[in-house]
Structures are given as structure tokens and as C-alpha cells.
């Protein structure tokens, strides 16, 4: 009975009604003589305190997997049932929920947190539990699963801000920004989500085309009190929202032509670790548009001196070239543009071929940092990797269960042939993936300059590598399915000491899970491939645009030189100093700073005539 109470506490009795289910079988064994003989009676509070302290250390040091297992086991153990049922165990429930959330077990984490929130009298951990619930809901975007049970709970007034933020985000995710304004607007300045809510309100204003309201909202968000003292402790999340608000504000000012104000605004976040790089690049744009060409070039040169490649780097190089061009620095502009045009043309040719279906189907290493994945593409890639890890975890649990069932010692001889084969296939797959990447880099280097025969050979080789990778992947899937389909041998462990009924039920349940995981992994693999293809298409489009702009820039350099030469000839014909000589004289300090000397440029002098 005690064990049943404990199971109910963690919500593990979802399948207890099923005859032969692993939970029910384990409860029976735990209440039986074999398990009782290994126990020392009901646990004492000191024992529980020691276990909790160990689990807390594990959690705080980031060992979430071990924490979830240790605390989950504690809740299941009938020896601790009386001690774990009360509010004294709430911190452990909170840590368990947090660890489960980190492990991706969101349903169970949510159930534990809702249990803490529904506790009467109120748990001391109600506030942290609600914040944790908000965080895991925002991360997973499973709004309905959270908001529906929250409606049934009587929450304190100070909890309203968290719920309002979730409601606002849920409405935004449903495409109803007009309705999201009400809950988001209710969030008070003392809330940790205040800054994020105001930022979202500004975005919704921007979406409906109300730039003035958006700017007002952003100004309210970044405004500091006259005293200079912050009214609350600025969390990382709020600081990030404020940094993004500065960036958005600067963009709005740039967009409406207030370049000097945009420059000042960009400078507010130029050193921010998250948005500083982007802000400095856009700052260079504002400087350029404000006519401060030297400053724009200096900003861009400082940015381009960073060792690691970054997003928009090719665009920044183009802008730098145009800054030189605008200041009549033909040599610098020409050198930058011709180098970039050649490099980007080659890359674009390689990417276009890949988009058209040619192998290798991988993004060249050089291009990756320039065109980062979108959030959705990252999610698709991460999901495929997470499912692969879940399949590994299932296989590990199966091996553990089989070892108990067989009474096998740890010192068993060499690894079984399946394990060796699996390790070999994994190595082959990793090697093929590495070779595909190298082939993609090589293809990008050859660009459009490669010989047709060379390119064809590379394409064929890459196709063979990708086929080998697919074969290794298919073999791994078959090997995994075969391991789960293999009938169980008669158990070798002592039936009087081993819970054979539970082990068989658990293995059966895990086999079902493995089947679902394999299906999900296949779908996730297809989504990840679609994500990579989308990323490749996007990268090809952007690189092609940069290549075209660089090519146009090369033309502009020639046109610019020609125009400058024409002016020089006209000025010489009129007996005036040529521009280049004037520049040299000015740089040498031979001309007075106050001297205004405007050579005739062939368009008349309207201000003097009128």
C-alpha cells in the first residue's frame, strides 16, 4: 500500500491497471519477501536526509540523469513512502521535476510541478515551481498542456504575471497577436518577465505596422530612472530583452533616416556579448548612410579583424569596399571586390550544383558561420540527435535488465558480436559523414574553375560515400530492430531472489518504446534532411546575392575611376588643380582647413546662380 502511495505521487501508475505492466509487477516484488529480506525496515529520517543531500549535490552539479534516477527510485521505494509523502519532501520533488525537465521528460516534470502548485497548505516551493513550469513550457511550446491544469488551480495574485506571459506566448504561437496584447500588457514591472513582455508588445506593434507605438514601447523598456539606479535586479533574460530592444530601436531609427540617432543607439549595445557583433555591423551601415565614411570603414575593419568567421561577414566586406569606393579609394575597393567576387562566384557555383541535387549534399565549412541555421532547422537537427540518444538509452536499459535476468557477472568476456558490429558501423557512418564534409569543402574550393572531369569525379566519389553512409545507417537500424525482436532466452538468475515477472514486463514495455522510438527516429531523420536541404537552399541564395553584389561592385570601381578621371581632365582643362593633387596637398597640410575649394563638376552651381 505504501508503495502504491509513492507510485501515485510520481504519477507512475499510469499503466498500473494493465495486468502484467512493469509498475504493478515491481510493486508486487517490492512488497514481497525477496525484497523485504534485503531491506532494513522503514527508513529513518536521517537516512532520507543523507539521500536527499546527495541528490541535491548531484542536481546542483548538473548530473541530471543521476538525480532523476536517484530521486525517482526514492519515491518508488516503499521504505521511504511515509517520509516522501509529506511536504518535507517537496525540495526533492522540485529537484526531480527540474532534472526530468532537463532530460526531456516534460510530462512527468509538469505533473510534479503541478502537484507542488496544488498543494494545500501552499508549499514553500510554489513560486520556484511555477517559474520552472513557465520555463519548461516556453522551451517546449506545449502551452495547452500547462495552461489547462493551471486554470483549475487557485493561484496567488503574485503568480498572475507568469500565467499571463504564458497566455500571451500561447496566443502569439496561435497567430493571434491582437489578442496577445491584453495578457502581456498586464505583466507588472516587478516580474522577471516584464522586459520580455514589453519586447513582445513592441514586436506586435511593429507587425501591425504601428512603428510609433513600437518605438514608444522599446523606449519604455530601455529607459533608465533619472537616479541611474535600477528598480530591480536585472536577470540574464531581462538583460537580453533590453539588449534586443536597443537593437530594434536602432533599426527603427535607421529605417526612418535618423542615422545619427541610430548610431548613438547602436553604440549602446556594441559591446553586448549576444548582439554586439550584429549591432556593430549595422552601426557601420548607419555611419555609411550618415556620410561618415572613415568611421564606417574603421568600424568594419575592426569587425573584420575578428579571427572567427561570423554571420554577414561577406556583406560587411562588401560594405567596406563600398565605403572605400565612396571615398574614391579605388585600389582598396577594387582589391576587396575582385577577391570577394572570385571567391563568392566559386562558392555560389558549387552551392547551386548542390541545390540542383548533385552530391556532396553538405554545406561547405566556410559558409556555415555566414548563414546560420534558423531556430526551426536547429530544432529538427537536435530532435534527430535526441532520438538517437533515447534509442541508445533504451538499449542500455535493455542490457541492464538482461544482465539481471541472466545473473551475468560484469567480468563477462569480450563484447558480444552485435556490440562490435554496431561500434564498427557507427565508426563507418562517422567516417562517411566526415568525408562528405571534406568533399563539400573541396567542391566549394574548385567552384566554377574546376575541370569538368574533376568535378564529375568528385560528384561520383561523394555519391559513393553518401551511399555507404546510408547503408551503414540502414544496417544500424536493422541491428537495433533485431536486438529488440530477439526472443528472450529462459532466465538464468535465481527466481527466488530476482523479480523475473517485473523484468519480463519491463523488457516487453521497453520493446514497445523502442518500436515507437525507431518510427520517430525515421521521421526525425527525414525532417533533419529537409532542414539541411532548406539550409543549403537559403545559403545558396545568400551567397549568390553576395556574389552578384561583388560583381556589380567591380563594375562600379571601373565606372568610378572613369568618372574621377573625367573630372580631373575637366578641372585641368579649366586650369584648376586636379582632385588627387588637392587631396595630397590637404594631407600634407599645405591647404588651410577653412579653405573651401569646389572644382566645377559639370553640373552647374545652382546655389550660386539662384
Amino acid at each position: 500500500m505504501l508503495a502504491a502511495c509513492a507510485l501515485a505521487g510520481i504519477g507512475l501508475l499510469l499503466q498500473a491497471g494493465l495486468p502484467g505492466g512493469p509498475e504493478a509487477a515491481l510493486v508486487r516484488w517490492l512488497g514481497g519477501p525477496a525484497a523485504q529480506a534485503r531491506s532494513t525496515g522503514e527508513a529513518r529520517p536521517e537516512e532520507l536526509a543523507g539521500r536527499l543531500a546527495r541528490a541535491e549535490t548531484l542536481y546542483l552539479d548538473g548530473a541530471v540523469q543521476a538525480t532523476a534516477r536517484a530521486l525517482g527510485a526514492l519515491l518508488l521505494d516503499p521504505r521511504f513512502a511515509r517520509l516522501t509523502a509529506g511536504p518535507g519532501f517537496d525540495p526533492a520533488r522540485y529537484y526531480l521535476a527540474s532534472a526530468l525537465a532537463e532530460e526531456g521528460a516534460l510530462g512527468r516534470a509538469r505533473a510534479l510541478l503541478l502537484e507542488l502548485l496544488g498543494r494545500q497548505p501552499a508549499s514553500d516551493l510554489r513560486g520556484p515551481a511555477l517559474r520552472k513550469l513557465t520555463d519548461l513550457t516556453l522551451r517546449s511550446a506545449q502551452f495547452e498542456a500547462c495552461l489547462t491544469p493551471l486554470r483549475e488551480l487557485k493561484l496567488a495574485p503574485e503568480d498572475a504575471d507568469e500565467v499571463a506571459y504564458l497566455q500571451g506566448k500561447a496566443l502569439l504561437s496561435l497567430g493571434r497577436p491582437d489578442q496577445a496584447g491584453a495578457p502581456l500588457g498586464r505583466i507588472g514591472p516587478a516580474s522577471r518577465l516584464f522586459a520580455s513582455a514589453r519586447y513582445l508588445l513592441a514586436l506586435t506593434a511593429l507587425e501591425r505596422g504601428d512603428r510609433e507605438a513600437a518605438e514608444d514601447e522599446l523606449c519604455r523598456l530601455v529607459r533608465r530612472p533619472a537616479s541611474g539606479r535600477e528598480p530591480f535586479f536585472l536577470s540574464d533574460q531581462a538583460a537580453q530583452a533590453v539588449a534586443h530592444a536597443w537593437l530594434a530601436l536602432a533599426r527603427l531609427r535607421h529605417e526612418r533616416g535618423a542615422f545619427e540617432r541610430a548610431i548613438d543607439t547602436y553604440r549602446k549595445v556594441a559591446d553586448d556579448p549576444a548582439v554586439g557583433g550584429q549591432a556593430r555591423y549595422e552601426l557601420a551601415w548607419s555611419l555609411e548612410r550618415a556620410g561618415r565614411l572613415q568611421a564606417a570603414a574603421a568600424e568594419l575593419e575592426a569587425l573584420l579583424a575578428r579571427p572567427a568567421p561570423w554571420e554577414d561577414e561577406p556583406a560587411a566586406r562588401l560594405l567596406l569596399a563600398y565605403s572605400h569606393l565612396a571615398a574614391c579609394r579605388w585600389e582598396q575597393a577594387g582589391a576587396l571586390l575582385s577577391a570577394d567576387a572570385a571567391r563568392l562566384r566559386g562558392l555560389s557555383a558549387a552551392l547551386d550544383a548542390q541545390v540542383a541535387g548533385q552530391t556532396p549534399r553538405a554545406l561547405p565549412t566556410e559558409v556555415r558561420p555566414w548563414v546560420p541555421q534558423t531556430a526551426r532547422e536547429r530544432r529538427a537537427e537536435a530532435l534527430a540527435a535526441d532520438l538517437a540518444r533515447s534509442q541508445e538509452a533504451l538499449a542500455r536499459l535493455r542490457d541492464e535488465l538482461l544482465r539481471v535476468r541472466d545473473g551475468a557477472p560484469r567480468e563477462a568476456g569480450a563484447a558480444p558480436p552485435e556490440a562490435r558490429l554496431s561500434a564498427g558501423l557507427l565508426a563507418q557512418r562517422a567516417r562517411a559523414e566526415g568525408l562528405t564534409q571534406r568533399a563539400a569543402d573541396l567542391r566549394a574550393r574548385l567552384g566554377s574553375a574546376g575541370q569538368a572531369a574533376e568535378l564529375e569525379e568528385l560528384t561520383q566519389t561523394a555519391a559513393r560515400i553518401e551511399a555507404a553512409r546510408d547503408r551503414a545507417q540502414a544496417a544500424l537500424a536493422r541491428l537495433g530492430a533485431g536486438a529488440w525482436a530477439r526472443p528472450l532466452a529462459p532466465p538464468a538468475a535465481d527466481p527466488a531472489r530476482t523479480p523475473l515477472a517485473y523484468l519480463d514486463a519491463e523488457l516487453h514495455a521497453l520493446a514497445g518504446l523502442a518500436g515507437r522510438a525507431a518510427t520517430a527516429a525515421r521521421s526525425a531523420g527525414a525532417l533533419a534532411r529537409a532542414a539541411r536541404a532548406e539550409h543549403l537552399r537559403r545559403a545558396a541564395g545568400r551567397v549568390a546575392a553576395w556574389a552578384r553584389q561583388a560583381a556589380l561592385g567591380e563594375v562600379d570601381v571601373v565606372v568610378g575611376r572613369k568618372q574621377a578621371l573625367e573630372l580631373e581632365i575637366q578641372n585641368l582643362a579649366l586650369g584648376r588643380y586636379p582632385l588627387s593633387s588637392l587631396r595630397e596637398l590637404a594631407e600634407a597640410g599645405a591647404l588651410d582647413e577653412g579653405l573651401e575649394y569646389w572644382p566645377y563638376d559639370g553640373e552647374g552651381w545652382p546655389d550660386e546662380y539662384e
Binding site: 548530473a63 543521476a66 525517482g72 560484469r410 525532417l527 568610378g560
Partner: protein, 208 residues
Amino acid sequence: MARRTQRGFLPALAAALTAGALLAGIASQAAEPPAVAPEGALDPAALAALELEHSRLRDELAAAEARLGVLAEKLYAARLAVTYRGELDPPFRLARVELWLDGALAYAQDFQRPPSVQLLQLFDGHLPPGRHLLEVRVLARGPGEPEGAPPGYLAASGMAVHLRDGAVTRARFEAEQDGDPPDPADLRGETPDGTWDVEIEGSFSTER
């Protein structure tokens, strides 16, 4: 004077890179997905459904882990605790620590900033008595390495521990690091060089 000659050069680039395009980045955060996804496209609804299915799988997996955890406590009187103590001096920044137990990932923690403690508890649990393989991997970033990219520096150390029934085995990994990675100025030069020297000492003891 120069401005007189530049007319006509900037607009081509500006048209493609105006702040309008920059602002599109903000607006796209709340943009609706297309109603009909093209063939082979990344379908957001399918992605969300699959994420939900994975979350349910993880729920079941966590429940099975907990059941196996309580069973291991009842069946095995052997306990293993693993700690890591590391000293990683600037300019290196600790990025990630992993523990692999018998070939499976048992601990993984990413660090955005240096941890506030030097000693980390990586594992504490009951296992079958006998031989188990432990491997600790320490990943770090050098100066100027971007946060989004994989860390550039890795050190690993492994050892076998031998667990006994009725005993606690404490395994410790202690890392000391020295090195001189290339700084941004080096990387801009023609002959960048650098060093990464890590010594990880593994030891274990058994307490009855």
C-alpha cells in the same frame, strides 16, 4: 568633394541591405508558417508533433529508469560515486564536461561561464559489482572562439574501476591545465601557433 563622385554606387548595395531587411529579422519571429509546405520541406507541424512524441518517450524512459534504479538499490550493494576537480586557467574557458560510464553518456554539462565550484559530482548510484569503465572528457574554448561553434580544445581520460558488494567506490578525476592558445592577433598572422597541455589524473578507492 568626394561625395560628388560617389553618386550611384551605394544604392545597388543599399537596396539589398537596407534596414528593412534588418527589421525583417524581428518580425519573422512571430511570422506564421506557410499553410502548405512544399514537397520535402521542413514541416513545422510535423516537427512539433514529433517533439511531443519524443517528450512522451522520455517520460516513459524516465519512469523505467526510476524503476530500474530502485531495483538496482535492492539487488546491488555496490555504489559508485564519481567526482571531477578541474583547474582551467584563462585564457581557456571551460565549455563542457562529460562522463561516459560503460560506453554510455552518464553526465554532460555545458558551461556558458566558469562554474562557481571546482569540484563537480558527476555520478552517484548503485551498479552491479565488477568492472566498469569510466571516461571523463573536458572541452574548452580558447580566446576569441565563438560560443555557437563546437569547443576547440578537448582532453579525456579513462580508467576501469572495480566495484565490490557492500562497498562504496569513489572515483576521482583531477585535471590540471597549462597552455598558450593563439590569441586573435596570432590568428591574423601568417604563422599562428599554440599549446594545450592537460594532465588528468584518475584514481579510485573502495570503502567498506
